[in-house]
């Protein structure tokens, strides 16, 4: 039979001899033992010390009574335990992450299912109720007879989340370990979805999630978050961890984050980062954020314009470039000056021995780093660009601006 957590609260428990032991005040899950089994019931009666009934001491459960298969003497005295998840205190009314629906929801009630195993009954947590039926039950249980409540809720549209898709949020790292809460399920989400979820949480909860993600995912999520939140999170992180995350971000994104931090904090973080990455970011920090230099990414793929298509593809295979950087390749002439760009699609369709100079996009456009962001937008619009090269005074390429950076700037305006 299906039971609900709300129905179980306050139910009377009787021992094997039929003596009244107490009422259910709370029940627990011990995630280290079984992720969804109700492991302990807290029974209290008046001024007596509260007792604990273990899952193998339960003979039957209903919304009217709990029958134990042992005598009262066999029950232990209740001791608070950090590694137990308290259903009422830790779950009911709290926020959880629905990893399949990709959103933050509030728990109204919990659905439990009975499972018989040699001589006793175990309760398993099957799903979390986040909709109207749970709300109605919370409001009316104990005021109106159970039957009426059940009848009423069956007419309401259900809204539940299977327990497997629930990710708990626990800001305290020690407790998180004890409760075996991981954020592995969150790492499978798209960083943009995870960023949306994080915006719905409180500061300490955001902090705990970022701290427990791997650096690559954390970097991707920070890149998608609202700039103000990113600053808050990075400021509160352990500097070493923060530097590790920044290192994983593209230099332009890392520079954007650091530019919003107080001077001392950003210096401290740059010190923690490896020299080469730190220098790249430092250079970017010198530029006005609203100019081409402040938008550009200094990591880009460049080749000589006299190379053939096959030579280039061969080199790309061996080098460690991200796919975003390879979308468009920058060409250099024999004086190491900017000669144009070749989109990957053109290279894909070209003959193996074709020279890159023959494949480049016309017209050849570039910008100095001081150029205003408005000029950048106009060039992208005019030539339908996917990428724009930024050059220094000697016409040497120093960075590229990708179309996705342009889109996010335009959205923010």
């Amino acid at each position: 039979m299906e039971l609900f957590a709300t129905e179980l609260m306050g139910v009377k428990a009787y021992d094997a001899q039929g003596n009244y032991v107490g009422r259910v005040r709370e029940f627990f899950i011990e995630p280290a033992e079984a992720p969804n089994r109700i492991s302990h019931f807290l029974l209290s009666r008046g001024r007596f010390q509260p007792l604990v009934a273990k899952h193998n001491q339960i003979a039957s459960v209903s919304d009217k009574k709990i029958q134990l298969n042992v005598g009262e003497k066999a029950l232990e005295i209740y001791q608070p335990n950090e590694s137990w998840l308290a259903v009422q205190k830790d779950l009911l009314d709290q926020q959880i992450i629905d990893t399949r629906g990709r959103k933050v929801v509030r728990v109204n009630d919990l659905d439990l299912a009975e499972q018989r195993s040699n001589g006793n009954v175990e309760l398993r947590l099957t799903q979390v109720d986040v909709g109207l039926p749970g709300a109605v039950r919370r409001l009316l249980q104990g005021v109106v007879p159970s039957k009426v409540v059940r009848k009423l809720q069956s007419r309401l549209p259900p809204s539940t989340i299977r327990w497997e898709f629930v990710n708990l949020i626990e800001p305290d790292p020690l407790r998180r370990v004890k409760l075996r809460i991981t954020h592995e399920k969150l790492e499978d989400l798209h960083p943009a979805d995870l960023a949306d979820i994080m915006e719905d949480l409180s500061a300490s909860e955001r902090q705990s999630i970022i701290a427990s993600l791997d650096e690559e995912t954390a970097a991707a999520v920070l890149g998608e978050l609202d700039a103000r939140l990113t600053t808050q999170i990075v400021e509160d992180l352990d500097p070493e961890k923060a530097a590790d995350i920044l290192e994983e971000m593209p230099p332009d994104a890392a520079a954007d984050v650091l530019a919003d931090l107080p001077k001392e904090t950003s210096e401290e973080l740059l010190e923690e980062m490896p020299g080469r990455e730190a220098n790249e970011v430092r250079e970017l920090l010198e530029f006005d954020p609203a100019a081409a230099g402040g938008m550009m990414n200094t990591e880009f793929a460049f080749v000589s314009e006299s190379a053939t298509r096959d030579e280039v593809v061969d080199r790309m295979r061996k080098q460690d470039h991200s796919f975003d950087q390879l979308d468009t390749v920058v060409l250099l002439d024999d004086k190491a000056q900017f000669a144009g760009v070749v989109p990957m699609v053109r290279m894909l369709l070209a003959a193996p021995d074709e020279r890159l100079s023959a494949l480049k996009m016309e017209p050849v456009v570039s910008l100095p780093p001081e150029a205003d962001e408005k000029e950048v937008f106009e060039l992208f619009d005019k030539y339908n660009l996917r990428m724009l090269t930024v050059v220094d005074k000697q016409n040497r390429p120093i960075g590229t601006i990708a179309v996705d950076d342009v889109v996010s700037r335009l959205v923010k305006r």
Binding site: L92, D93, Q94, Q95, V105, R106, V107, N108, V130, A135, R138, L139, E199, L201, S202, A203, S204, E205, R206, D226, R228, L229, Q232, E235
Partner: protein, 440 residues
């Protein structure tokens, strides 16, 4: 000629220029930081001066002249103390007040707080649209035109605008409250007496005086504003680091709110009270009576202030209420959801506006009773909410080092108890007032 000297000269100039630019940038950044936080406190406190509030201030000025002005300073403190606690909770926990009540006190208390809140706010919304009707009457516009137009305007503003845009419009509306300042200046009051009565308390023990005093406090400190204020800071993602700016915002809001109240009371005292027109039933009537006494401009500005205040509150109240109720009960809320994703939110919002505006349009609508109901409702709702706030803000597991200090707690509890006693008196007397005052 040695060119290198010129070159180093130019370079040092360039460096100095760059240094200056950097310093300017840091100044600009600090200003941006402050501006980024400011808003919720200022808006919330100013919305307090809504149609119901202005009616009470008008009555206070018309009936008792300058003698009630002393109450404004303690009221400013009370307003600041209570609002600051909510701002602090929002900034530190990153959660709304209804979220916190739900998480810490469970479903049933939350449900009753929310349901009471919904009906009290509905009555308040009716009062706002009644304010729109009264103000537009001064400009000779029928309420059957003005109220539906106002409802549509409010609906468009909120549905079409983003949070930032709406906030800018609201901040602009705060500036428009200054029309009361001009209106008061045009009324040529005795500033010296006004200043004297503001500083020196003048407590009288006649029943009417006490009732008006209670009304003054009751309309200024309304429970819904705590929810709106805290949600505002949460929505703006203000963190503990920006708490000083948030506090400044709340402080500025409370003071500016009371400054406006001061000018409204002074304006009415200098005209209506001096000329003996002491029985004023609503703010529209006050504006009407101002015209022969202080000129067309004073009356017009007064009515414009009322219109602004009513529209302002009518835009905020339904939205804030729908938000708070849905968040507390765990339903999807917010304008960034589609109707099918958050049906309960949109239904609540629509009901608040349509019923709110609709009641005003009914011929022989019992507006007076609704106003009393909203006051009684506030009176019942306020103690509950304030006690929840005080319990929450003292929880170390939630607030960490930001819990109330001992002295702050004493001030806060004294304020809370005083407010509760006053609003209970107000509720009691509102029950007794069965007959409406002389009609306009």
């Amino acid at each position: 000629m040695d060119w290198s000297i010129l070159k180093t000269g130019v370079e040092s100039l360039q460096n100095r220029g760059a240094g200056l630019q950097k310093r300017l940038r840091s100044l600009r950044r600090r200003l941006v930081l402050l501006l980024a936080v400011i808003g919720p406190g200022l808006i919330t406190s100013n919305v307090d001066n809504d149609a119901g509030g202005i009616t009470v201030y008008t009555q206070a000025g018309a009936q008792y002249g300058y003698t009630l002005l002393w109450a404004l300073i303690p009221m400013t403190i009370a307003l600041y103390v209570t609002e600051e606690m909510c701002a602090r909770m929002g900034v530190v926990t990153g959660k709304g007040l209804s979220d916190l009540i739900r998480e810490e006190f469970g479903f049933r208390p939350t449900f009753f707080v929310m349901i009471t809140g919904f009906f009290v706010d509905l009555a308040n919304v009716v009062a706002e649209f009644a304010g729109v009707a009264a103000a537009m009457q001064i400009f000779h516009v029928s309420k059957y035109v003005a109220v539906p137009l106002a409802a549509i305007l409010v609906w468009i503003l909120v549905i079409q605008g983003t949070y930032r845009q709406v906030e800018v419009i609201f901040l602009f509306a705060c500036v428009l409250y200054s029309s009361y300042v001009f209106s008061a200046v045009l009324a040529k009051p005795d500033w010296l007496i006004a200043a004297k009565y503001t500083v020196i308390p003048n407590i009288r023990f006649d029943l009417g005086y006490l009732i008006t005093l209670t009304g003054l406090v009751g309309t200024t400190i309304a429970p819904w504003q705590f929810f709106y204020l805290q949600a505002g800071f949460v929505e703006k993602k203000v963190g503990p680091r920006q708490y000083p700016q948030a506090r400044a915002d709340v402080m500025f809001g409370s003071v500016s709110c009371m400054v406006i109240v001061f000018f409204i009371i002074v304006c009415c005292a200098a005209t209506l009270w001096v000329s003996g027109q002491r029985d004023i039933s609503d703010a529209g009537q006050a504006a009407q009576s101002l015209i022969p006494l202080a000129g067309k401009w004073a009356g017009g500005l007064f009515a414009f202030g009322l219109l602004n205040a009513s529209l302002f509150a009518a835009s905020i109240l339904p939205l804030s209420t729908a938000h708070v109720v849905c968040e507390g009960l765990g339903f999807e809320a917010g304008l960034d959801h589609k109707f099918t994703e958050a049906p309960i939110f949109y239904w609540l919002y629509t009901v608040l506006i349509v019923v709110g505006a609709g009641v005003v349009l009914l011929p022989h609508a019992p507006l007076w009773k609704i106003l009393i109901f909203s006051q009684v409702g506030n009176g019942i709702w306020l103690p509950v909410v304030v006690i929840f706030i005080l319990l929450l803000v003292n929880r170390r597991d939630l607030m960490g080092e930001y819990v109330n200090t001992m002295t702050y707690n004493i001030v806060a509890w004294v304020t809370a108890i005083a407010m509760i006693v006053l609003t209970l008196i107000l509720t009691y007397t509102a029950f007794l007032q069965q007959t409406p005052p002389p009609a306009a």
